[in-house]
């Protein structure tokens, strides 16, 4: 158990419904909702009280922070206009892994105005979760992003905004001394060093797994830290144009192509490897930073059961050879 320095309040001091009321007054509210088909999705939350545990939704928070299809600008009568500023919203019932993923996106999109505009409108309320069989969260258990965190006993303020909300609910004295942080990570993920990974470029495992891979892109679509995108213009008959940012995917044939149809990343094996490289070692300024938060979504959705952790194990075994 880690010690936490986040200020917190025992639940009996915080009336959750009142807290919800305060949030609702200013924001559209989203929460995980499990449908009749057994799948949980982040949905606008109707009436009713706060959920008490976090559930890993089908699509992670990126669906709200980096929407699958987002207007970036529009062009009318010779002017390029920015898209409208999004409305304030709150998401309650976010699991720890998704909060960590938001931190990662925050870094990756540090210079991105549309992302940051949306992010500034978001209030994130984390909650303790019940890890499922797919979960492989690892590393740090202290949230890196978010505003509030609710467990069975306390409400933690993770940010000044969260703190202010609690104050608005009449919580005056914060708990200053370090309390033990309530969430533990499962720690089941196979560690893999860059050296191991890069010494296995030619390993048979890539072609092996790639034989099965359907290139359907499901794994990266549902991954909370996959963020490849494409830009597409949609023209309207009145002459106006809207540019959209839409999710792209490194499994697709066009991803590594340049003019002349030259492909820098031909074949599924290379593409699979590329995704794993991103997950384990990050790109650009985030190089070296693990971006897999262990939410288990990719494992769950893959129709042919490709599992990056299993690949990591096998690479470990083959690494020396």
């Amino acid at each position: 158990m880690l010690a936490s320095t986040f200020p917190s309040y025992p639940l009996e001091q915080v009336a959750l419904d009142e807290l919800l009321g305060v949030i609702r007054a200013e924001r559209a509210l989203w929460a995980p909702h499990t449908g009749a088909d057994g799948h949980c999705r982040l949905q606008p939350m109707g009436e009713g009280s706060l959920p008490r545990v976090a559930i890993t939704a089908f699509l992670p928070l990126k669906k709200l922070l980096l929407p699958p299809r987002e207007e970036i600008w529009s062009f009318r009568s010779g002017e390029y206009c920015t898209a409208q500023v999004p409305q304030a919203f709150a998401v309650v019932g976010v699991p720890l892994c998704d909060l960590q993923a938001v931190w990662y996106l925050d870094q990756a999109f540090a210079d991105d105005l549309p992302y940051q505009a949306r992010r500034a409108q978001a209030l994130l309320v984390g909650m303790a979760c019940v890890p499922g069989p797919e979960c492989r969260c690892d590393g740090l258990s202290m949230p890196l992003a978010g505003d509030l965190f609710v467990d069975q006993e306390r409400v933690w303020a993770l940010s000044p905004a969260g703190q202010a909300l609690l104050r608005a609910c009449g919580c005056q004295v914060s708990q200053e001394m370090p309390l033990s942080w309530p969430v533990a990570v499962t720690g089941k993920r196979h560690a893999l060093t860059q050296k191991q990974f890069f010494s296995t470029t030619e390993a048979a495992i890539w072609t092996d797994e790639a034989k099965r891979c359907l290139s359907c892109g499901a794994c990266s679509a549902v991954c909370p830290t996959c963020y490849c995108f494409d830009m597409l213009d949609a023209a309207a008959l009145d002459g106006s144009v809207t540019r959209h940012r839409i999710w792209d995917n490194c499994f697709f044939a066009e991803h590594g192509k340049v003019a002349g149809d030259y492909d820098f990343r031909p074949g599924r094996a290379n593409r699979l490897r590329f995704r794993m490289e991103h997950k384990r070692f990050g790109f650009g300024a985030l190089r070296g930073q693990n971006s897999c938060v262990g939410c288990g979504r990719c494992r769950k959705v893959c129709p042919v059961d490709i599992d990056l952790d299993q690949i990591a194990e096998r690479l470990d075994g083959e690494g020396g050879s």
């Binding site: 359907c216 597409l232 023209a235 008959l237 066009e254």
Partner: protein, 247 residues
């Protein structure tokens, strides 16, 4: 390919169900806007203005080719059209018409009796077998927005951008439950080119692949999955050949 508005737009139909042109006619909300930027020239389904133009800016072509007279009409159209766009599965690959097996004459006779053997027809061929095709719009039926965005892009002097990806990607974006994974249903989403917003899986119907096969599709693995799910080899063939050109 910059044209003066209104652009002269023709729609020629060959062997098909008319679904592609109906798709455009079904864009009721955009009809008024359309009327401001296009002029219909050969569009027999909705217009009586026929053959009164020496030059067509954009010719949309629907259907597969099945007779010499159709080929003649297509060639004449290509000669007068600035741009030629093949619309729909039939025009792109031949469409479901292609599935007729065996010798054509025999099939004709089985249906029409003796008169059938006298018509000059051949097995359905896609448009690109005969003329240069400048742009393609897939689907059976095609998507309204793809037709409209293409016309709008032409007004800007180019073709619209589009993503090359499988239906699955759109299906996941829509957070549909996966029919392949959960029901072992013969969904062609993983190998079918997207753009329909995963319309069919969205209501629980496995994708029939009407938009054609995506680039670098892994058909072998998908067939293996179908086989494991209990489909016979013939079932799988029938499923794939509907729009997949696996004849």
């Amino acid at each position: 390919m910059k044209f003066k508005t209104p652009i002269k737009l023709a729609w020629h139909r060959f062997t098909s169900c008319s679904g592609c042109q109906l798709t455009l006619v079904n864009c009721e909300a955009s009809m008024t806007a359309l009327s401001a930027v296009v002029e219909l020239h050969d569009f027999a389904l909705v217009s009586s203005a026929l053959g009164n133009s020496e030059v067509i800016d954009v010719a949309l072509v629907e259907g597969s080719l099945t007779s010499p007279s159709e080929v003649k009409r297509l060639l004449a159209l290509r000669r007068k059209a600035g741009l030629l766009v093949a619309v729909g599965a039939c025009a792109l690959t031949g469409g479901v018409n292609v599935m007729v097996k065996g010798e054509r004459r025999r099939a004709m006779e089985s249906i029409y009796g003796k008169p059938g053997t006298e018509w000059d027809t051949f097995p359905p061929q896609p448009v690109h077998h005969f003329v240069k095709v400048d742009w393609q719009i897939p689907g059976c039926p095609p998507e309204q927005h793809e037709l409209l965005e293409m016309i709008a892009a032409i007004l800007h002097g180019g073709w619209p951008g589009r993503q090359v990806m499988p239906v699955c990607m759109e299906c996941r974006i829509n957070e549909n439950r996966c029919l392949l994974e959960e029901d072992h249903a013969p969904c062609l989403g993983p190998i079918t080119r997207a753009g329909c917003h995963a319309l069919c899986p969205g209501i629980g119907v496995p994708c029939e692949g009407c938009r054609g096969v995506v680039a670098e599709a892994n058909q072998d693995e998908l067939c293996r999955l179908f086989f494991a799910a209990g489909l016979s080899e013939q079932d799988i063939r029938h499923r794939l050949e509907r729009f997949g050109e696996v004849l």
